[in-house]
Amino acid sequence: MQKEIPVKTKGSQAHLARIKERFDGFIQSGSNPAFGEINELASGIIKTLGYPHRTHEMFTFVNTADPSLTSFDISEQPTRLDDDTARSLVYTGCENSVLFFIDGSLDRGLSSFYSKDGKMSISPIEQNQAAKREILEKTKSEKDIFALLNAAFMKEAFLLDVKDGESTEGFIQLIFAASGSGESPALSTPHILIRTGEDTNIGIIARFVSLDKGAFSIPALSISAGEGAKIKYICVQEGHEDSRHIVKTSALLSKDTHFTCITASSGSALVRHNYEIHLQGEGAETDFNAVSILKEKEQAHHYIRLHHEAMGCISRLKFRNILNDKARASADSTVVVHAGANLSDSDQVMKSLMLSPDAKADSKPNLMIYADDVKCTHGSAVGQIDPEQLFYLKTRCFSQDMAQRILTTGFADEIIGKIPFAPARDGVRKMLLGKLER
């Protein structure tokens, strides 16, 4: 049960005051009137809910007291990304299906999006009343302060629409680059609706890059899948160690949909992924995977709420974290099997490998079951390299160092190896496994 938030602590009041000051300034100059209703609604809800602190169920493992989370600047103009940097962020094979969002704004010059028969489109939703209503309705029930900040400070939003039956062999790459130049953290609020029709088969890569120190990115992505849709979603987070990235991704899955999600995080001063997944139609499936490799003071936190709302749905959640130095990670995942969602099948496994005694990993798998005839399991383990595995490798001629490297790489590769797009898989391997080289 969500604990009541006492709004009268000094710290939380200071945060709220900073948010209000920035919001007032944003509304005066910088906001987009097309989103005014959403901005005001979100701002009001923030005031009602108050600013969360560590006893808040949603932020148990995250230090929300950090003043930089509400001391942000709102940039009026997005930074310009040079061509070489832009090119380096595009995975091979995505050159004709890449969308660049710089500080939340679509950069049409850098983007290249071609749909052969017009069955896919990307459009701003300023004049799309239906899409705006969707965001408004979502905002009304939102409890995550950072998702609400996204809505409160939203200036642009886009709809990626995939029509019924569309199937892509390759992947669409969405690049979200956040700059951080300036004295205070620079807020970036990209907001994307992804709507896939019936029987679509689509791959999407969301690559979140914090370009500079001080980048503060709070993206919101909403995916809704029509009946029979198959979606492969890869999320890659990387960037400056002194940046903050807090993303909310929600997915509504209809009957017989299949949603594969693989999140790979390199960490930073604060990284938090909030996934809210609803298996709304009978036979919907989700295969969720998250991997992070962290060092020094990097953090990566995962907060997952997965709802079985129909019969016969399947969910698999797998978490792998490798932590060195004073890194911190958490996996807080609850699977809720609602009444009537009989024959649900769910499994959660969380494992963290600690390479340093000063690193900290928290695992909190939960189950809330309100239906009959279900099969739900969960497990978690935090520890060091398995000594029996280590010994086995040594009896196969590997030195201690080499055996440790094989085992730590293999631990992360259980998830990295599942990325279904080779250029992204190789890129993530290089990004993450390179951190194990000391």
Partner: protein
Amino acid sequence: MLEIKDLHAGIEENEILKGISLSVNKGEIHAIMGPNGSGKSTLGNVLAGHPSYKVSNGSVLFEGDDLLTLEPEDRALKGLFIAYQHPVEIPGVGNAEFMRMAYNVKAKKEGREELDPLDFDELMSRKMELLGMDAKYKERGVNEGFSGGEKKKNEILQMALLEPKLTILDEIDSGLDIDALRIVAENIQKLSGDKNAIIIITHFPRILKYIKPHFVHVLGSGRILKSGGIELAMELESKGYDIIK
């Protein structure tokens, strides 16, 4: 090749091996038999260098060098190989890549050519075919989700690729059906020769119908109580371990 003299070893405060002495020469196959708890697997683990076991007395020379001072990886590089009764699973580490790396570490040490993935794949495929192993096991995690029989075959596959001088087979026959046993045993027999040696640790004489040992030793209470030839194994089959009581 292997000279064990008065070996005493155990785990924590518990002494399990209470004075084992054994000589194994090139070209020989030795069977170590005995009831549960007699120390058979402990002997294998001590020779391999498992850190849980402590040697309190005795010596082991392997190819003239003191084995007990060597790390497990150095024992392996010297040519000692142990095939486990219950090999660990290592998810995330591809079976083929693991074997290629192990092959290349040994090849480099011995001054032989290392193999690239394509050449190694060819070599591995040939060996897998002889063992009746499906190619799908190349990409799986090491032993991950393998049945008991497939794990044993995977151990013999490693033996075939690493070509050790001394192989210790720890209950390689346990959990194998008749056909799998025959295939595994035939492959082991093919791998044996006059330049290497094999120690088969087993409860049951059935594998010895396929791999004929030169010597059979019966362990009891941490000691070799009786040694003989194949006829000793046959006597055990008809009379059981009562013959050593």
